[in-house]
Symmetry: C2
Subunit: 338 residues, 2 copies
């Protein structure tokens, strides 16, 4: 490590003399170059170094290095609407094409109307009907093909880019850094498991088997040629929000994480559960306070509560009292999106 | 590889000259030394070599190399009673100590009596009551401590050894060989997830997060000091038998296996689902036909049906018609237990 650093320094010094690069305050071997120096960056570096240093009293064996990451609002943009909900709304015309009788049935009628004010007023029951119609009843293979097509073609209205490009660069640096140090990184999110698994590997370097999400059941059956296939069913096996996160972690991973990252009340129990483990544990929570580069929302710090990714005052207080580290998007991140 | 083989040969030749080791027909670099030459061993070697050779048309990328193994009767002895069921019966006295009113309630009264003939007549409903009383209602931490203690102290009556030592050497060789070739190995078994995870890493080298089993829910709560913990609940999230195996694989792994190993009708759908995938797939099924070294049971081949790990004639016929490879414990295994 010392040799590498010295060599890098030599290269940097030579480049400076040659006037090739501007002097910057970040070290050439900084694993988190998109983070500003501060308590959040320091907390990550200190945690990873102390838990992976064999000489440290905080050392964690390789097999136990588990880090869990909420997705919406933690790894990528969740505002103004969760990406998967956008997908479900976008799928409604296709669903109605297959079942024309739904065209005059609520809430499908309202979604088809395109009337944004009316759509914004849909209830949770309405939303569940839309999720049910667009996420269940088809084979797993059909769903995967539809999802892949949508991910390739849909664009976020503000950035005009595919949703899978709206990831936070500082957080992808954390994923890469922790994996390089032997941590197994998991997504633990309220989104749908079959949906997130379509892009988790390409977008985050996280394979399907390390994706823990809200999951419905499937049903095994045979097609007319006797070939087996799975159909997506309406029964809910795991609601991976709130208390469902530690419950889902126990079911899918079977080990308590050493580090967890979230941004809302939906992550509260995962952060509590992680931090309550023995030895050194890291719990971090992202505050969306950057209206210029992303969005600013959440009642903590007096920002508006949009109901998406709620960061309440109570959560903020718990973070402070339990030693969770708050990440200020505005102050801690040098860059936000790529 | 050539160098290694030559070097090993030199060592072997020198040892032979010195009279240290007896000449054996197995190659020094044989990854499956406890297997006799024959179609079963050849099927494993051919499958692994062709799917991990970049020049082969059957090559499978590293990330997609998933192999799933049933446990009871496939990786370790299941006869005459599943190990976890033995655990549950053994726990009954402790449960009754904590709740003395159960001492005169069936089926606990019968289990406490020690009357083997009466115990053998217990119904499935009785068994479910015993499983419920011994596997749910306690915290995950308490359950893990109880399980660990039992695994250390309990002994199989025939071999007088801990149950975790009753693993099949040829199958642990397959696990080791496939992992060395980049396969992620999973246990996919009808046993209880929290139980199997207590020994999977030490016994098979399979970490908790690669254990897919029958799983009940847990409930998140806080102790009197505000510390969060999980309680084992009675609701069933996954019945990991029969169709539940591919359904569980989809939920927990999210990829179709390239290889699957089983021994009973409970593995039928996992084997079908695996074999029905595109490209090269391996499905193998173990026939318990070795009364001397282990047990002989199953109606296929005219052996008695013990209801444990049923290997029916229909399953045998399906294996033959669909290209699954039958492993004869008697003929294909040079050794059985360590």
């Amino acid at each position: 490590m010392a040799v590498t650093r010295r060599e890098l320094f030599k290269v940097s010094a030579a480049a400076l003399v040659a006037g090739v690069v501007a002097p910057v305050s970040i070290a050439a071997d900084d694993p988190l170059p998109s983070w500003n120096d501060g308590p959040a960056k320091k907390a990550i570096l200190d945690f990873v170094h102390s838990t992976t240093d064999r000489m440290s009293s905080k050392f964690v064996p390789d097999a136990e290095r588990i880090a869990t990451f909420d997705q919406d609002g933690t790894l990528w943009v969740e505002h103004p609407m969760y990406t998967q909900v956008v997908y479900c709304f976008d799928r409604v015309p296709e669903v109605v094409k297959a079942k024309p009788e739904l065209a005059n049935v609520e809430p499908f009628k309202t979604v088809l109307s395109g009337d944004r004010a009316a759509i914004a007023k849909l209830t949770m029951d309405d939303l569940l009907k839309i999720l049910g119609a667009t996420l269940t009843g088809m084979s797993v293979d059909e769903f995967e093909a539809e999802t892949r097509h949508w991910l390739e073609t849909a664009r976020d209205p503000r950035w005009k880019r595919p949703y899978t490009e709206l990831t936070y660069v500082p957080m992808t640096e954390v994923l890469t850094f922790m994996r390089a140090k032997g941590y197994k990184t998991y997504i633990v999110t309220g989104g749908g498991q079959d949906f997130v698994r379509q892009y988790s590997e390409k977008t985050y370097g996280i394979p399907p088997e390390q994706v823990v999400c809200t999951a419905g059941g499937t049903k095994y059956g045979y097609d007319k040629n006797g070939r087996p296939f799975l159909t997506k069913e309406a029964n809910l096996l795991l609601n991976d929000n709130n208390a469902g996160k530690p419950e889902g972690i126990h079911m899918m991973i079977g080990r308590r994480p050493y580090a967890a990252f979230g941004n809302s009340t939906g992550d509260q129990q995962m952060l509590e559960y992680t931090k309550a483990g023995n030895g050194e544990r890291l719990a971090m929570i992202i505050l969306h306070d950057d209206a210029d580069r992303e969005y600013a929302y959440g009642p903590a710090q007096g920002l508006p509560d949009t109901k998406v990714g709620t960061f309440t005052q109570a959560l903020y207080d718990e973070a402070k009292s339990k030693g969770w580290v708050v990440i200020s998007m505005k102050n801690d991140w040098r860059r936000v999106l790529s």
